[in-house]
């Protein structure tokens, strides 16, 4: 039906094309967004958490990494309590160092998000490049890339990340571990995750390259590079962006998992995962907030990003509509 209706467009209206903003506000995406309270909530939560992470230095009551700002005497202050000693108010309580848990979460989600975004970007660029190459050129390149991908898929990606993390750490001198931890983490998570981008891009490339607009470009005699980057790449990016959104949630969780296992971010630069690991020690000694609040923050962040990704996939994928 929808195809029928669209195919009979008699002639576009004579008025000049509406502005980009109006076109956007009138699009199916905005419409679908407005109709789903869950998606609206997820968007708001995600934006709030992004903003919290981005503006942490201005929002957070203290800088949890600056020992000068910590008062050991305030250690283990429960949530919503004003300290008897310093008079500082702790919204979500404080930990064993007298560190404000709320501030630690803001700064921690900063690192979590940075690692998540960078890892997704790394995986996306690598996967897209390899997928394009495999799909466009085919032959032995395709076979090689896809077999490597198949092998990698047989391992759980967290195991893959652990392995890559270990290998890279092993190659670097011990003294560098703390400084480059974040980069190592990004590369490890990115490398463990490129396969799905490569597969999606390869499939889409093989479909697009046989479409007639690509053949028309061939008939003109355009060089392969121009066909690949001007015609095919922009048309295969859509699935990639969807996978990227869902991948962001997975990457954040992967980072948290690694940090929780103690192989990710060091306690001096805690991410949400590190905070959870640290908080775990106090789970049974009554200081539940040190574990609970970072855990909830991670859950809410990952869940809302994931919901957004799912929604985006549904809106952008015509097959599901």
């Amino acid at each position: 039906m929808s195809r029928d209706v669209k195919s009979t467009v008699e002639s576009p209206p004579a008025s000049p094309p509406p502005g980009r903003l109006r076109t956007f506000l009138d699009s199916d995406i905005v419409y679908s967004w407005q109709r789903q309270p869950v998606v609206i909530a997820a968007t708001l939560v995600t934006l709030a958490m992004f903003a919290g992470a981005l503006f942490a230095p201005w929002i957070a009551p203290q800088n949890p990494f600056d020992p000068g700002q910590l008062d050991l005497i305030d250690a283990f202050t429960p949530p919503l309590t004003r300290s008897e000693f310093t008079g500082t108010f702790y919204l979500l309580g404080s930990d064993s160092q007298g560190r404000d848990v709320f501030s630690a979460i803001l700064y921690g989600s900063r690192i979590s998000l940075l690692v998540g975004f960078a890892a997704v970007l790394f995986a996306l660029v690598l996967g897209t490049a390899l997928g394009l190459l495999a799909g466009f050129r085919g032959g032995w390149r395709d076979a090689l890339i896809m077999r490597v991908a198949d092998v990698q898929l047989t391992f759980p990606s967290i195991l893959m990340a652990l392995l890559i993390f270990g290998v890279i750490r092993g190659l670097l001198p011990r003294s560098m571990h703390a400084e480059v931890a974040i980069i190592v983490l990004i590369v490890a998570i990115g490398l463990s995750d490129w396969v799905q981008y490569a597969r999606a891009v390869r499939g889409a490339t093989m479909v697009e390259k046989h479409k007639e607009y690509v053949q028309a470009a061939r008939v003109i005699g355009l060089p392969d590079g121009r066909i690949l980057f001007q015609h095919i790449l922009p048309n295969v990016l859509r699935p990639v962006l969807v996978i990227g959104t869902i991948g962001l949630a997975l990457a954040i969780i992967a980072e948290a998992t690694l940090s929780f296992l103690g192989v990710g971010m060091p306690a001096t630069q805690p991410s949400l995962g590190t905070l959870i690991r640290v908080g775990q020690d106090y789970m049974f000694s009554g200081e539940w907030w040190i574990l609970l609040f970072p855990g909830v923050a991670l859950l809410v962040l990952a869940l809302s990003v994931n919901l957004l990704g799912d929604w985006l996939r549904d809106v952008l994928n015509p097959k599901l509509r």
């Binding site: 467009v9 002639s11 007639e212 028309a216 470009a217 008939v219 003109i220």
Partner: protein, 346 residues
């Protein structure tokens, strides 16, 4: 099959494109591992196998046939989308047999002289580009010296020529109907003033009333620019309307080539006869179409001898054994049929 044959040209018009013994084989085997495990042999699809014809400047040659006859493959061979397995292509005196492998300026010199129009108006335009960018693409490539303003003006001219408005350059393909998109395709093809156009089923995805608009437009453009068309279609009525000469293809070979009027008046090859008889026509209300037995066989395993023999009522032992060659007749047509050659058939 291997000897080069020249189609006798009529008195008028120089030959613009000459195809001799074109062949295009595709390897359709299973992957190596499957072949080894299943003991399957290599399979070759002979999509085109020994096709020769020539097109004179300003005329329209149509290739007709049912699915799998190789007509679209011939089109793609000519414009260099596929490489030739065998044979020779000469365009305006230059050998372009290796065009598919050529790159750079040397290829551009040839490629800018011909263009192609595709079947599916929904797939032939890049959905993310504005119409102006799509039509301007050949200009950007072939005429880098053109300024953006000149190019913009030229795109506007082209749009008006195909019945759209210059303002449509700023729109995206999805805003247009199938017929309008086909007009945009035609405008793109015309952009660099080609001499020769390969049209692969340009109207078969369109409704009849839109088809009439597009066919009329194509004829107007032909007259205005003296274009030469290779017109590919499965629709006999459309072909009759458009073509000066017609080549009927069956399983990768030409069964008969003749002037359009002659073919429709007196087809010689049994397949050509059958194809004509099978066309449903408005004139024949309530008429029973003459019934043709069977279907086109799988081109991976074509029948030996004349590929048409299993469906042919006149087939004999020779037809089952020996591949017939195109043989010129006195009326100017060429027919590949033992029966016609021997005089068994009219």
């Amino acid at each position: 099959m291997s000897e080069t044959r020249t189609i006798p040209t009529a008195a008028s018009g120089e030959v613009l494109l000459e195809a001799s013994d074109l062949a295009c084989h595709f390897d359709v085997s299973r992957p190596w591992l499957n072949r080894v495990l299943e003991r399957a042999e290599r399979l070759t699809l002979k999509a085109v196998d020994g096709v020769s014809f020539s097109i004179r400047r300003g005329e329209t040659l149509a290739l007709v046939g049912e699915s799998g006859c190789g007509k679209s493959t011939v089109a793609r061979l000519i414009v260099g989308l596929h490489g030739l397995t065998r044979g020779r292509l000469v365009f305006d005196g230059q050998d372009i047999s290796d065009l598919a492998g050529r790159t750079g300026r040397q290829a551009a010199a040839i490629r800018q002289r011909f263009q192609m129009i595709f079947q599916d108006p929904y797939a032939s335009l890049n959905p993310l580009w504005r119409v102006g960018t799509i039509i301007g693409e050949p200009l950007r490539f072939f005429r880098p010296e053109m300024s953006a303003v000149q190019r913009h003006r030229r795109v506007g001219e082209l749009l008006e020529q195909v019945g759209l408005s210059a303002a449509d350059a700023g729109r995206y393909p999805h805003e247009f109907s199938g017929g309008q998109r086909q007009r945009i395709s035609i405008a793109r093809a015309l952009a660099n003033e080609p001499e020769f156009m390969v049209c692969d089923e340009p109207t078969s995805a369109l409704d009849v009333s839109v088809q009439a608009q597009i066919l009329n437009l194509m004829r107007d453009l032909q007259q205005e620019y003296g274009l030469t068309y290779l017109f590919i279609s499965h629709d006999m009525a459309v072909v009759k309307h458009m073509a000066d000469r017609i080549a009927v293809m069956y399983l990768g070979r030409i069964a008969e080539i003749a002037a359009s009027d002659a073919l429709f008046a007196t087809p010689h090859h049994p397949y050509a006869k059958m194809l004509l008889a099978a066309v449903p026509s408005l004139e024949g209300v309530g008429r029973e179409r003459s019934m043709i037995q069977g279907e086109v066989p799988n081109p991976v395993h074509p029948p030996p001898g004349c590929a048409f023999h299993p469906r042919c009522p006149h087939a004999n032992e020779r037809c089952r054994r020996e591949v017939p060659q195109l043989i010129a007749r006195r009326d100017g047509s060429e027919v590949a049929c033992h029966g016609v050659e021997e005089g068994r058939l009219p």
